[in-house]
Subunit: 339 residues, 2 copies
């Protein structure tokens, strides 16, 4: 059993983009535009085609069984428009992911995005999380630690601003992947510096706060192999020590997991070397940020299963990374045969 | 011969902090305060004591010969006050580093900070660089890619805003270490998420622009082992390929070097595995962000020479990392016997 915990619907039919364009056109006329949810004219056949030729084909070719699937991360765009923009957009994106999972129940299970919006309370995200989990069978969510899109003008994750979302996640027993979206700051490139910087930033916010004392049941997955964290694990261990914090293994690793979206063997080797296998979740983020074939291996950069297969791991550790850990982190996950 | 390319005067006598406090007090009364440069009452004996018991003692204990030495990075604080604040502060900090190098000419060579200030032209930095290099014998500078202190509101490094500084660096034949300073954004912690995020960000700005076509003689050192870059070298190679850029080894590695401030053996092993030895410069950044002893090794986390000694490197590669590369990157560097 191989569960890929990090897949996005990056191949949605163009009607989704047309809806978003219409939202943005309305916002250009009036930045306070409210509008209405409206509808998406996407047929089941369109969804089937967009998935069968992409994520499903690759899942089969590469030998994974199930993908934990969420709306396109760079498309969340929480910085765009206002809270109404974000709410309607998010509802459509989540409902579309639900349809993918209904059409391919053997292959995909849904995780939702949240209708975050800069300067707006987190309550609408709590509502959407509850709707998705309780009414639509979602098993987790993606949380954007920087809804400003690269200016980091909001409160850090240990600020009380977030409290009701953390409470809801605990109550619903769902984890969050900490995942930023597109950036509107020219200093950053979305899927490289912004994503990796945010991964590291979120880790440090968790490390240097009492978040998990206040919310011992909170669970976060840090994507992209944890940004810079495992490469600098010595730095972080040493900082924790200098600051009088508990060792990271004790203070964080009951609540934080790292995915395997690291696109070369040396990176995966380091990840599995410095972090306990219990804290690593298999992931590829395909079809995603890197789509080509690595000429040094002859295989796709994002075919991360090959790196896990090639890493120095016991069978037991490999099984945990491929599936066992995901079952613990996402307790609402039901395999097809368990439903 | 072992050259440590990354040391800061983190142990300056308290008079330096008193000067800074006075600047900040004046700015609280009037944010447009100009003031004057004033003076620092620090004796040579104070400097000797601050160095002998710290950086010099550790340099000797750990077996390095020479440290490329600059003002404390987190103290640069370019976001504080206005251009006058930054100018006077920078001049004092650089002059103090010059005094250290005059008192210990066998052990330290100077690199300057620049009087950057958000929203202000880069010309004053060009002037200070010229003063330091031409009149005071400095061999390089530290450039802050985010003088806003964590909000990233300035132009990226490939913007024409920076052009005259890049020209001056080329003309003077000096490299820059890309090094942010303290952060005034609660989302970031200076020496972890802010430093490492900025390292990655600067690399991507270089990678995704024509900076080195426009300035083929420009040389940058990316500190802290390059942030997240080597750990994600596959991701960056793949992105370059997807974007139709030249391979990174061709497009960047004539102009970009990575230091070894990575505080555990697995991180250094990865660095020397994925990057050519020609592009790695020995560094420890002591006395710096991590000062404790790693209980898993019994040695200081930042005693990076041990990791280089322990890495799988040929004698030739190790010699390049320890000294040869620094001689190429910092051509104005003269060893004591060459002066």
């Amino acid at each position: 059993m191989i569960i890929d915990c990090h897949g996005h619907y990056t191949t949605a039919p163009p009607e989704l983009g047309i809806y978003r364009d219409a939202q943005q056109a309305a916002l250009e006329r009036d930045s306070l535009h409210v509008g209405e949810k409206g509808s998406l004219d996407i047929t089941d056949d369109q969804i089937r085609e967009s998935i069968e030729n992409n994520q499903l084909r690759l899942q089969r070719e590469r030998g994974a069984d199930l993908t934990i699937f969420s709306p396109r991360a760079s498309g969340m765009g929480h910085h765009i428009g206002n809270e109404h923009t974000s709410k309607f957009w998010t509802q459509h994106c989540n409902e579309l992911v639900r349809r993918v999972c209904d059409l391919f129940p053997e292959n995909f299970v849904p995780v939702c995005q949240l209708p975050q919006s800069p300067g707006v309370t987190i309550e609408s995200s709590v509502d959407e999380l509850a709707r998705c989990v309780e009414k639509m069978g979602f098993i987790g969510c993606n949380v954007n630690p920087d809804p400003s899109g690269g200016f980091w003008t909001g409160p850090p994750m240990n600020d009380r601003y977030w409290w009701s979302l953390w409470e809801a996640m605990q109550d619903l027993d769902v984890p969050a992947m900490v995942h930023v979206s597109a950036t509107c700051n020219d200093n950053f490139h979305a899927t490289s510096s912004h994503y990796l910087g945010a991964d590291t930033t979120a880790f440090v916010q968790m490390m240097m706060s009492d978040l998990f004392s206040d919310f011992p049941g909170l669970r976060f997955v840090i994507p992209h192999g944890g940004g810079a964290v495992p490469y600098h694990w010595g730095r972080f261990r040493g900082m924790a020590q200098d600051m009088g914090l508990r060792p990271l293994n004790e203070s964080l690793l009951q609540n934080v997991w790292f995915d395997t979206c690291v696109y070369h063997q040396p990176g995966i080797d380091l990840l599995v070397d410095v972090l306990p296998a219990e804290n690593i979740l298999f992931a590829s983020e395909m079809v995603g940020a890197v789509r080509g074939i690595d000429p040094t291996t002859g295989f796709n950069y994002d075919d991360t299963k090959r790196y896990i297969d090639g890493a120095d791991l016991s069978d037991e550790a490999r099984a945990m990374i491929f599936a066992g850990n995901a079952r613990r982190v996402y307790p609402r996950l039901r395999l097809p045969e368990e439903r």
